[in-house]
Amino acid sequence: MLNPDLKLNNKLFDKDVEVKATRMGYGEGLLTLGGKDPNVVSLCADLTESTCNHLFAKAYPDRYFQVGVAEQNLAAIAAGLGVSGKVAFMSSYATFSPGKNWETIRTTIVYNDSNVKIAAHHAGIMTGPDGVTHQATEDIASVRSWPNIKILVPCDSIEAKKATIKAGEISGPVYLRFSRDKTPIITTEDTPFEIGKIQTFWTTDKPAATIFVTGYMLYYALLAGKELEEEGINVLVANVSTIKPLDGKKILSLAKMTKAFVSVEDHQVMGGLGGAIAEYTATSLPTPMEFVGLQDTFAESATTKELIEKYKMGKEDIKAAVKKVIQRKP
């Protein structure tokens, strides 16, 4: 069942569950932060509306900087602001930032320890019809190997707002990953959120496996968990909203308890959430694991629904992965 301690959306499994894009949560969080802290500034590379910067830009025009289509400039200007007492949020699509300006971010923000929050929008195959050029499916892998960075991937717009505000309240580089489409609201305003904590959203007695999910795909995993339980297979579904630093303590306790893992992410299966967990368990408690995500391939133009089905990343695929990993338990 949905973990009652977390005060999740009790209408989650309704057919008309409320939907909203995580990027909207970002826009609202940024607006809130702007009102709280006069040092918050935001920069964008010609994508003001689609990265939901318009709310901040309208409210605080003097603190909003339009950089134009120039992602390296975007990052390095933010870096300069971030070492000068500002809390600098920079926005573009994840394929371009950190895709195009990876080294600029590495040197001027991350190594330089500048107080910059990198908002990476339109991540994953979720960007659908735009095609592969606009579907960032390697970004987590490419930023996760940096020291001195925190990586947050909110599961819904409410968590996205909380993550944005928290990111602005702590010092140093933070990577925030958002998606384009409207996705189900899973949490509520009362759901606790803390950077670096994995939370078990679906709980059960005597779980046979743990499904770890990052981002909006948590919804599919919760549907899978519910259906598996109806089939007599009890699993836990954990929301990994912070990929770095990884909540190793929680992973270890779940490895001891369930002895089988499935990871789910809208990202290549290499180097993302699944990779992070596998690296951790390899040295702490080796645990059989299955990976749901893009299997070392580019996707294509289509609707999100079609892509998730074709590339085997949906509810049925998660269920199949759970069944497979349970078979592999020692």
């Binding site: 500034v41 900087f65 950089v67 390296q72 990052a75 390095a76 870096a79 070492v83 040197t107 330089n112």
Partner: protein, 278 residues
Amino acid sequence: MQLNKKKLKDLKIKANRIRELVIEMLFEAESGHPAGSLGMADIFTAFYFHILNHNPKNPNLPDRDRLVLSNGHICPGLYAAMALSGYFPLEELKTLRKINSRLQGHPHRTALPGLETSSGPLGEGLSQAIGIALAGNLDKKSYYTYCLTSDGEHEEGNIWEAAMFAAKYKLNKLIQVIDRNYIQIDGNTEDVMPLDPLKEKYEAFNWNAIEVDGNNIEEFIKAIENAKLTKDRPTVIIAKTIPGKGVSFMENECCWHGKAPNKEEAEKALNELKYVKS
């Protein structure tokens, strides 16, 4: 501060001292970049001993002028100027590029107080200087942000992205100094990728552009004073320098871009610099 004859002579002696220290540091480190470090010694001197409003004993002063070194590989010159002006002891210069040192091969801001950025990968400093200048405007500060770049790094697109932005936001308290020494790793800049007419390029980007002899301290300081009179746009000072300046066998030789002198070469270089001083 008035630039009288005595002060100017003092500055020339300081510049020569920086050159000596650069040779000693690179010999000790057995690697590093002499040509640009020597070529820019006069400009480092002008900044650290005349132009900058700074306090080496209090490097985080909120109102300090900022000096951003974009072409981080010439940091031996920067480190020498910083040590000579009192940011850290001169003896520490010998630790350049060695383990546990604050003097990284390319500058690292969080390692050494007084550095404004981490730099090395080319083309990124001007944008960072813009961010620092924007923060100054937001905070209604009067500090100047100076950004030292190289001519070679103008082949990076990021520089031109930054050039457009600085003009758009009329950042008049941003002053860029380009080390126009016409060399880069693979040879003459005009052979590798022609940059001229550089002044006209910047004027077309709506910058105030000034050309000076970058090895003439007096002329350079006057150019900075002139730049400060411009209120509606950023200024670029294209400083023509001689790479390897002061060491005859290094001057204008692109092979000295990134090579340390051996014992014999270092001794020869130091002898030449000694001669200049007396």
